[in-house]
């Protein structure tokens, strides 16, 4: 590695750490009334700081970073795994699965009339949206894996993911037709919001990040090998199918957790690894960690913007990331066209 590349990596690491710190501070100061230092000072003085700062803003800010980090990490794994810069964490059916899980729970009450046992419905609605989304995401990926008969063939895996997405999406629509009440809940869930993140969410998000990042980092050499092509990777003596399966599971865990806590936040998983690649040409070990930090920084900034742009009203952060991410990709395409 050249000294220049080394410097770039160090610089990116510092910048990401700085953005996280500054974004975190901004997240604590920016409230429902926008940027108002006067309001911040009165809040510190009148004793509501514990509630507003510690119980609401702090977990929301940290939670936004953690959610973004999980999406960034999952995105980097997906793009390495499929050797496709347009792969995103939702690709293998986790989005459709999570959404279906949520709709199932929301519709459970209404469905009791149409054949589900009452006990089941009651159990389902107690199960909670968060757990349902998480299990749905894992089930979606599980279904994709079983359809593709494991993770041996990338193309088959990708196709199975698309099929599962379509089929689960259709089931989803069927359920919302039978139980229209579930529709608005689903829409709200698809929107993606950091507004409901509390300390318990942060604990879950943090635990999963700690759980997924080390093995992801260890397996990054598999992703490095895959950049040479499947055959070359296999010729290196790596047990590719098994390792790829582990990577898919890690990705599903990260995505499922993030979606279950904050909903479908668009584009962070897609854009974060892109941005990292723009700045450094690192191997996947560095890339995974940097993508996580980049995803965290992106969602953190988006969250602060969502809170303050039209304060005292608030934008759903998912809408903001979709708009910003969409324009970034368009700009990227435009540049490539000019360059090409």
């Amino acid at each position: 590695m050249s000294a220049q590349e080394q410097r770039r990596r160090t610089r990116l690491a510092w910048v990401l750490a700085l953005v996280a710190l500054l974004g975190g501070a901004a997240g604590l100061v920016a409230g429902s009334e926008g940027w108002s230092l006067a309001a911040f000072r009165t809040m510190l003085a009148d004793g509501s700081a514990e509630l507003i700062l510690w119980q609401i803003r702090a977990p929301r800010t940290l939670g936004a970073w953690l959610t973004g980090a999980l999406f960034g990490l999952a995105g980097a794994i997906a793009q390495g795994l499929f050797r496709n810069p347009l792969a995103d964490p939702y690709l293998l059916g986790s989005a459709a699965g999570a959404s279906l899980g949520v709709v199932l729970v929301l519709a459970a009450g209404a469905l009791t009339g149409i054949g589900l046992e009452l006990a089941t419905a009651d159990w389902l609605s107690r199960f909670g949206l968060v757990a349902a989304a998480f299990c749905g995401a894992l089930a979606g990926v599980g279904l994709t894996l079983s359809l593709a008969r494991g993770a041996q063939h990338t193309t088959r895996l990708l196709l199975a993911g698309v099929v599962v997405g379509v089929v689960l999406g259709a089931l989803n629509d069927l359920l919302t037709t039978l139980a229209p009440d579930a529709l608005r809940g689903k829409q709200a869930f698809l929107l993606g919001t950091t507004g409901f993140l509390g300390w318990s969410s942060c604990a879950v998000l943090g635990a999963v990040l700690l759980l997924v990042l080390p093995p992801g980092w260890r397996l990054s050499r598999v992703l490095d090998a895959l950049t040479l092509g499947e055959d070359s990777a296999a010729s290196l003596g790596l047990p590719l199918p098994a390792l790829r399966l582990v990577l898919v599971v890690l990705m599903a865990l990260a995505t499922g957790t993030a979606v279950s806590q904050a909903g479908m936040v668009a584009f962070v998983g897609l854009v974060a690894p892109h941005l990292v690649r723009r700045f450094v040409h690192a191997t996947h070990g560095y890339r995974l960690v940097a993508s996580a930090a980049m995803g965290g920084a992106l969602l953190l900034l988006a969250d602060v913007l969502a809170r303050t742009l039209i304060a005292p009203q608030e934008l759903p952060v998912g809408v903001l990331t979709a708009v910003l991410g969409g324009f970034y990709l368009l700009w990227l395409l435009h540049r490539r066209e000019i360059a090409g």
Binding site: I52, A110, F189, G195, F196, P312, Q313, E314
Partner: protein, 292 residues
Amino acid sequence: MVKRCWRRVLAPVLAMCALATCAARAEVLVRDDRDVAIRLATPPQRVVTLMPSLTETVCALGFCERLVGTDRYSNWPARVTALPKLGGMHDTQVERLVALRPDVVLAARSTRAVERLEALGLRVVVLEPRSQDEAKRTVATIATLLGQPEQATVLWARIDAQVQAAAARVPVSLRGQKVYFEVDSAPYAAGSTSFLGELLTQLGLGNIVPPALGPFPKLNPEFIVQAQPDLVMAVERNLRDMPRRPGWAALKALQTRRTCAFESRRYEMLVRPGPRLGEAASLVADCLQALP
């Protein structure tokens, strides 16, 4: 002597009893639609509502001044538009809501927002009426919660009287006529088991949607064409589009203009299961009287 002694002992005891009953009166206990018991030491003075019909109920019961914030859709009575708007049921602005320090939050079912608010130590009463019985129960729950349960009877008696007066105005020739009431162009209809369907029944009208289909079923457009409703009711915009839908020009009700098109601000009265149901009945009666 004995008498005076009695007085000396009895008076404080009686006073304490009076105080105790007073305290017992002040404590409120309600059960919400989740069957969760909510107990408050005193009737709440600072109230946040997250659904228009709940806002309207609080105001109609005479407690409008206790509201400190509402959801973004609440717009009646006019004074609530000046209150802080706290988003919708699914993107509730938690921080802003908490900063208002409400004693209680009245909300519809939405697990995420309700869970988060309760985790932050707020008292949340979940109320989401779909039928008139439930709407009546909601009014009673809110009146009890706010410390004046008797107000519920007064309010509901007023609504009942308004509905009966409206029913009396419905021309006899229209009694029993089958209605298609569209609540969404998908098309979703108001079935006879919804509060709207019940209102139509009270006005002496029939419904093309059988009770078995539930309160707000999504229908096949063909079903409506085949059912040939005698009357079609919808918000203005939807009604204008109806003749352009495939096959709908064949609806006799549309051809003969036996329709009620509601202007959207007035239409809100009809689709909110709140205290303006009586006015809504009168709105429908107005339309029916004006029919050719």
